[in-house]
């Protein structure tokens, strides 16, 4: 089973609760703005603590409120592409890309991924000088290079142009299939979801 | 209601001069207000034309400084008090030593230190002069710990951080934590005197009266109680 998620968390006066299991390579998390998609990703990554529940990814138990299990985020093996970018402003693009590579393969796939994302010209640049889409691609590269056991992608392709998108979708498909990384994917684009996702989880409002 | 004169006085006079001001006030006069600080700071405040009435520094030098700038009321400068210099040791570790020409102070200190005021304040200059005229300064100098005033030197001795110290007799008398080893011969240094004068810009009539009170037998008796010598004699 790729994802077994059963979590509940109160945020302000909203109750976020979701329960799903998905055997698919890529599971899409679908739902309107404010439904709680990012919160669910945060809980799986271990950066937002569920009030109660249980999280298993790729057969590994990450969280269980009853058993008292709570694996710290750095040990979960997450490749998290945040909705809000979060590049390290004090490191150049190259150093951003390689930040998590210590855990992974030490960045041996740097050239390949840089090429795929079309960010070869940006390696020596500071994040503050990147355009929106450029920063987004660097964030994707950073997550992929960190040797993750699974990917959490929060609208990773929003803000990318069609041409870039057409080049990136196959990459994600390859990650899904060749590397056999379970992916949880948040998107508002039904077509994109239909193309990529083996299973679609709908979060109501 | 009339206000008392503003007196600028050396910090080392705090206890005695406060008592004198109290006694003066008890005679029905407006109580003098006394500002205690380093004589150097007070002299510079006078130079900056600060509105004060009386000046009582810890030595003649700063009075000369003010006088040279024409800031004193002519004919009001007088010698108020005298003091003596003593060698002290911690009460818990007494030192047996007779102060005399070439006495074994350096040896007695051993690896310990001699706390005294710095050359820049009067007590330090008197102490250095005394040790020099007794012929021991060269041997003792490397062991000297200089404090910014006598009270700090006294603290080093009281706490046993220094093996001995040179302070005024008045300070030693007031501190039960130290024992007087000996009094330096009066001839070993220039006389320790505290002058008093009325400032030229003073308009407070109390200035004349309080000055007279300090120099009167009643005033002098109060200072004698704290160990000072009378400035009228000697």
């Amino acid at each position: 089973m790729s994802f077994e998620v059963d979590v509940a968390r109160r945020l302000g006066d909203r109750d976020i609760a979701v329960r799903f299991t998905s055997p698919a390579g890529l599971t899409a998390l679908f739902g309107p703005s404010g439904a709680g998609k990012t919160s669910v990703l945060n809980m799986i990554a271990g950066v937002l603590r569920p009030d109660a529940g249980r999280i298993v990814v790729g057969g590994q138990l990450l969280f269980d409120s009853e058993a008292g299990v709570d694996v710290p985020p750095e040990a979960r093996g997450t490749g998290y592409i945040f909705q809000d970018g979060r590049l390290f402003p004090h490191r150049r693009v190259r150093a951003n890309l390689l930040y998590g590579a210590r855990r992974g393969d030490g960045g041996s796939r740097l050239d390949e991924i840089v090429d795929l994302l079309g960010i070869g010209d940006l390696l020596e640049r500071w994040p503050a000088t990147l355009s929106g889409g450029e920063a987004q691609r660097v964030a994707i590269g950073r997550a992929l290079l960190s040797g993750p056991r699974f990917l959490l992608m929060d609208e990773p392709l929003a803000g990318l142009d069609r041409a870039r998108l057409e080049r990136l979708l196959p990459v994600i498909e390859r990650v899904r299939d060749a590397l056999r990384l379970p992916i949880l994917y948040v998107s508002h684009d039904a077509a994109e979801v239909a193309r990529l996702a083996g299973q679609r989880i709908d979060m109501g409002d | 209601q009339a206000t008392g004169p503003l007196v600028l006085a050396a910090a080392s006079l705090q206890e005695a001069l406060t008592a004198a001001a109290d006694a003066y006030a008890a005679t029905g006069q407006p109580r003098p207000v006394v500002s205690f600080a380093a004589s150097s700071a007070l002299a510079r405040q006078i130079e900056a034309d600060a509105p004060a009435d009386l000046f009582v520094p810890a030595d003649e030098q700063w009075m000369d400084y003010v006088a040279a700038r024409g800031l004193l009321r002519p004919g009001t400068r007088a010698r108020l008090l005298t003091n003596r210099l003593v060698l002290v040791a911690p009460a818990t570790q007494p030192l047996r030593l007779r102060i005399s020409r070439g006495f074994e102070l350096a040896a007695a200190l051993g690896t310990g230190r001699l706390a005294m005021a710095d050359d820049s304040v009067p007590a330090g200059r008197y102490g250095r002069a005394a040790l020099t005229s007794l012929g021991v300064w060269a041997a003792v100098e490397p062991k000297v710990a200089r404090a910014d005033n006598v009270r700090t030197a006294l603290a080093f001795v009281r706490r046993g951080e220094a093996r001995a110290g040179i302070v005024y007799a008045t300070d030693a008398k007031a501190d039960p934590g130290v024992r007087v080893v000996g009094v330096f011969p009066a001839a070993s240094h220039s006389p320790i005197t505290y002058p008093v004068a009325i400032l030229g810009r003073s308009t407070n009539p109390g200035a004349v009266r309080f000055r007279a009170f300090l120099l009167s037998p009643r005033g002098q008796a109060i200072f004698a109680h704290y160990g000072f010598g009378s400035g009228r004699v000697g």
Partner: protein
């Protein structure tokens, strides 16, 4: 507590309050200049602001005396224009305290101004906000942590200031004798330790009060600014 001690305590509070109230706006202006502008002599200005930190306090006090004494340029100016003098007055104490506290206030605020996200100021400008309004409604509130920190540091420094004060405006009970001067007096007296201890405790309580107030202010000002994550 003797009446004289009470007087010193109240004076210290008054001085602390006014030195911060008067010094903060000046410090904020300077911090803003240093954080945001580059101009010839900027490093010089920075150095001058740091002077009271670097020089022994008595030297600062002496310089104040030279400047604000009756014959000093600032003193003459104050006298000619406003007919006032700060010599031997509590206002002089507040002035000395403010000068000594200035570098601390400026540094704290400068740090916070530099940490303000300028893209938010840009957003305010596009929304029709003048540079001044942007400053008042965006930069200033976002720099609030530094302003609060500057105020606390300044207040604490003012409460503790000794050397510059006694050199500048002497040690006059009821007018310029603040807590540290009273403590210093007691320190010179045999058996004054009890008084030293008592007055020191009062100083500590005063600054503790300022600390508590500042923490509350800081918490209030940052209310809602942090999300729940990690």
């Amino acid at each position: 507590m003797t009446p004289a001690e009470w007087t010193a305590i109240l004076l210290s509070i008054k001085v602390g309050f006014w030195s911060v109230a008067g010094g903060l706006p000046v410090a904020f202006g300077l911090a803003w200049l240093l954080a945001r502008r580059s101009f010839p002599g900027k490093l010089m200005l920075d150095a001058v602001i740091h002077l009271p930190l670097v020089l022994p306090p008595v030297v600062t006090g002496y310089l104040l005396l030279l400047a604000f004494g009756k014959t000093g340029p600032a003193g003459r100016w104050l006298n000619d224009w406003f007919g006032v003098s700060v010599m031997f007055r509590w206002t002089g104490v507040a002035l000395a305290a403010a000068v000594m506290a200035l570098p601390l206030m400026v540094r704290a605020m400068r740090l916070s101004i530099e940490a303000v996200d300028r893209r938010l100021e840009v957003a305010a400008r596009t929304l029709g906000s003048s540079p001044l309004r942007t400053f008042a409604e965006v930069t200033l509130p976002l720099a609030l942590p530094g302003i609060i920190a500057g105020a606390v540091l300044g207040f604490a420094r003012s409460i503790g200031e000794f050397g510059a004060t006694i050199t500048f405006v002497s040690n006059i009970p009821g007018e310029t004798q603040t807590l540290p001067l009273a403590i210093h007096n007691a320190l010179q007296l045999p058996g004054g330790d009890a008084v030293v201890l008592r007055l020191s405790l009062i100083s500590i309580v005063l600054s503790l009060g300022a600390l508590v107030a500042s923490e509350m202010l800081a918490r209030r000002s940052l209310r809602g600014r942090v999300a729940h994550v990690l």
